[in-house]
Symmetry: D3
Subunit: 278 residues, 6 copies
């Protein structure tokens, strides 16, 4: 993750939570009071963002804060495991605490859910990917957490990937026409993906050299047939109705990629506390 | 919610999702193509932000987009219920779609979870409130959703409320000293709240005129005793270990407020789609 | 004051005064020329912002500038007293000079005027507070200067305090209705204040548990009667027509708080110079 | 004043005063409640910024607010004179009220003080100008107010004018050397001004073709002699120790320009209220 | 081009050129003075950005300005041909004039140079593309101009495309290792491109399924051999030493794409004037 | 150049080119990989911005990057001459590379073209200046490059200089009226310039004390006559149709200043590479 970008985001988050100052702590502590604290896992999960995000929150609040012993991304935590130790001026530790925890809990939550899906398809070559169903303002971080959990990223936004959907096709009259219009205008560095909901559409994709064929809301059976039809001539992405119960069967159909909105829109936060040792 | 503030946020969210343009749609549609679509509930939940947030996303993307038939905040949706109808230039509808849905799904998710807690304590005068455990960057919106779900808000940030915690007390030597230091420096418009974890601390709070006493992670029994001791001399807030199973018992202890981090950090997104009618 | 917030403001102020560079100094000095200078009081006043604001202006312009011997907030200056010594690259000292002086003169002016009011009510427990009549863009700094002068702050903005005024009451039909509507929607951490201009209104406030009663533009006599009526059941704030001649009499009525717009909107700047020693 | 620039500033000012919303008004009024109000002078002063600034504050808060009957800049107000009438959604009128008043009171204060100086030198061709001693963040507006009061502006910032001061001269060894270094590097569109404190320095300025000679802190006698020496070969600016008692005598010395820091750093705010008529 | 993005950029450009106002025009014209003017080609070129950029500059400066008769992108201009007519408040037309012209001249310059390259390879299926050698801050606009001139875009930035260069390969020890590391981490929507400078490297690319092979600074002969080797198994991009003299020969080698830095870094501005008709 | 201003610009430029990260380099290198590289001239030109701009780009990307051996502004490069050596984390060197090169190539291009014009008028006292025909967003940098090439700057923007053009004159009825209106409103620190296209207009300028007379698109003969008429009573600026063929003749007419739009709008980029030594 680019630090310049990250620091800009953190600055906004701190502004939101700290406002013009911490009424309580600035009334009680002096700028000279120092302390240290540990961010500690309260349950078991996959860590994302301890070293790379939470530590940076403290650094942005006050560059003199020391951050050590950060758990690496992807670490499987046990209850009471230490994820990060911070020390420095108490006022700044307190100002950064909530933003650091909120981010670490959310990102670890996403990594944990991703890892559960990834574990389900272990042994296959299927890629678990995210979607654009991320929290507005946090996409860079949430997609980072998906990678920390062993998943991969789909396109970042509307400008760096192509996904031709039903209304695009409808407007063009055919998949071929839609693909042609798009190919003529986009950089050659980007693959063309088309969303399909029938085998006829899959067939049409193949005739016009689509790079990635998305099978949208198809049954495993239908997916198996589609994969056979495609036979390596395009990457195959499964999408829709994917959950921890269905993902294994979907992976069994031979698709290359399974994209899952829930990774980012419905992962519960992990439980992490900050324990002080004055 | 202040519209100037909201529009600034939406602009950032659109920049994140749209980037420098929608490669696919701009290749296929012309600026003259118009269409309309409906945001539709796929399951049952409590609506938050259809008229006030999702509609504004479309308006910010292009002020000429018409938004009608928005479901009011607090509406209980049924599957297939329409939440908002939008019409205007197709390219702009497509650019705004994902941000509008991501926000509406998340805010409705928070309202829905809030409403479940509120329903559990119906018949009591207890207030269900949020905490500072919100998604960084979205606090204004998420606290809005809590209100839409029938809950109330706790302080917005470190600058507009006071919460004296264990490390503040430890640094001062006593609750009285901590309260005095804070009272001397904060606006008289703000109440002083102290976090306690024992009845002794509750007692100490009462002797120094604390406005709000937070009972942190206490058992229902202990809370009941604390409420009796306090006897109306301060507002009483329960915090910690609150979930849908425990909330009723906690409300039964006579506390005034129950604050719940899960409202904002772990509410799953609602399922909402955008159906097109070209 | 939060340094991250402060630095952002200073950066804007420097941009305003320096523009794209100092035509004169950049033509004459090289980046290697170093010097030092002292900010010196030309008359007697109460210092605010020497260490906390003026020194930071130089630091933001160039972190390598050394700032020493800063006068503490609240110090009573005598003519020729040194308030801050700075040393570093001459070009940067000259670029920061005017912004540092403009801020220090203004903030010390506010602290000085505040202290004059505070001195007038010495021996009472009355709090002198500011209002929202601050210079747009400088509220954080001006409210800081009020505290440096021995005063206290009223609410920071419309979002972190409640003040029910005549038009709110008129719209609701009664104070009770207004208070009820507000109480139902605001965080429990915030007190409810109502502006009154008659004893009947004061009475009505008491019946509905208002936390703070503002006596607006009342005569000292009327205030005395109001304070008696209230009898400790609410905080009492006097507002309107407060000046150095009237403040003592107002304090004598027994009110708890006297809020004064002039503290921030009409304090003349103090006279401070920057003396160079190349 | 450039409206794009102004609107950006107003947006920041509103964000400061409104924060994330008006707790009181948003609890009491609905978005459909409309009202109107008049900004009214409470005493006599010179108006600055009613039409050009205060009205724009309301427009930025909500473009649907109507603003009529604005007093022109330079108008001499009488008590009870109306300066602006606004009508629209009550919530937005209340949100914009304080920022509009704070600005109008301050700008009119500056215009009023400027006009008092200008009146003192009526009948001469002397120009009364401001300095860089403005409130950080408000320079554009405050310099505008000086013009509204009949004054003129000095350079806007360090980048669009040249003023060679004592430390510049000291670093160069002579005025000539300083002037030469500067002339060689600045645009030909900008005049070179030198600060002098002796007649010898004035003489030196004349020998090297300085465009503007500032007489700094000189007595009226000395100024008279300087003006004679200069004899039209350069513009002459008086600076230092200028107040309402001394300005006439200074104007009598024959200088072209009198620059006065007090215009912007010490003008008391005018008294202006907002009267509602629901 | 996304209008929200574009308007933000234009606002910055106007701030740069207008500063706090147009000293000359605001002194001479009133806000009521209206006029109209035509942007007119002074020589022959390919138009880019008349309707889409220059017209928007005027609209951003003042939404009430009318813009009509804009020449479409790609139009071949003749001397005296009108490119855009604008009418509205004179002050705003003058404030927007230079930014509109500077952009239109530069973008048309890029489109014109692009079209010259495109014309040279007419009859082939070769794509002429840009590079990242754009003017900092103008990439969106300059890449738009390349498309207006008949060219295509390469990746937009380091985050939305992959180009494995010599130092990446060196760090990995082999192309295969570099490709593997990249493939494992990037979205499946993005093609992998590798820069090669020998046929051995081309060969190595083919064995590991590289999507795009860049032939860097190769002679036409060598390119021809490379194209034969590749034989459709990857897209082939020629890069380096491409100019109007060499481009035809390069196209003749059978490459798919020719990328040319000069399109954006060295296109001279077109000559366009603004003729007034008061 | 002011570093605070410069760093803000560089941050935006990096954001444009790097986006949310370097997909390729971040996949291949670790944060611990270090390297060094040299920016090297590929042909002969006048250097601008190696130490002052390009080195700062690397510093902004990562303050730990070392930058040494920067070529001074105005240095005449030979092929293979080193302009800057940088060393530090490879990922950050790669992220900063393109922005640094794009800026250095463009600024050196402008300095080089400027120097060619300056060389042509060597031996005269004529000043070669730029215009407002700069690249939007880069004016500070491009005007800096003009100075590095031996030229001088014209006004920076519409707010810090006055240029009365034909439409201003037309609106006023006469040059005198236009000059009077402007003089009355602008700071006394700014000279008044008038654009003329006939000797009659030149004459009129002289009668009203214009400071700078621009001769617009006049023949050398006519300029010679104008210069004689003016005879030192105003600065004389030649503008229009200036190129490397005509500039000498124009200088021979005796004008003081020759302003040339091509310096900034049509200078081709210099060829500079970055050679790595891992």
């Amino acid at each position: 993750m680019d630090k310049n970008l990250l620091h800009g985001m953190i600055r906004e988050f701190l502004r939101e939570d700290v406002g013009r100052g911490d009424l309580t702590s600035e009334s009680i502590f002096s700028e000279l009071d120092h302390g240290s604290a540990r961010l500690v896992a309260r349950n078991s999960f996959v860590v994302a963002g301890a070293a790379t995000v939470a530590a940076e929150v403290f650094k942005v609040q006050n560059p003199s804060i020391l951050t050590v012993d950060a758990a690496a991304d992807g670490t499987r935590s046990r209850p009471m495991m230490e994820l990060l130790t911070v020390s420095g001026p108490v006022i700044d530790l307190l100002k950064a605490e909530r933003v650091a925890l909120n981010l670490l809990q959310r990102l670890s939550g996403i990594a944990t859910l991703t890892a559960r899906f990834v574990d389900k398809v272990k042994g296959t070559s299927v890629r678990i990917t995210d979607t654009r169903k991320t929290t507005p303002g946090l996409r860079v971080l949430e997609k980072y957490a998906v990678r920390a959990g062993g998943g991969a990223n789909h396109r970042f936004n509307l400008a760096d990937g192509v996904l031709i959907k039903d209304n695009h096709i409808a407007a063009c009259g055919s998949i071929r026409e839609a693909v042609d219009r798009v190919r003529g205008k986009i950089p050659h560095t980007i693959r063309v993906e088309v969303e399909t909901d029938s085998l006829d559409q899959v067939e049409e994709c193949l005739t016009c050299g689509v790079d990635i064929i998305m099978l949208d809301n198809m049954s495993p059976d239908m997916m198996t047939r589609a994969v056979k039809m495609i036979n390596g001539r395009a990457l195959v992405e499964a999408s829709g109705n994917v959950n921890l119960e269905t993902v294994e069967a979907i992976a069994g159909t031979g698709v290359d990629i399974i994209s899952i909105g829930a990774l980012t829109h419905s992962a519960p936060a992990c439980d992490i506390g900050m324990d002080w040792s004055f």
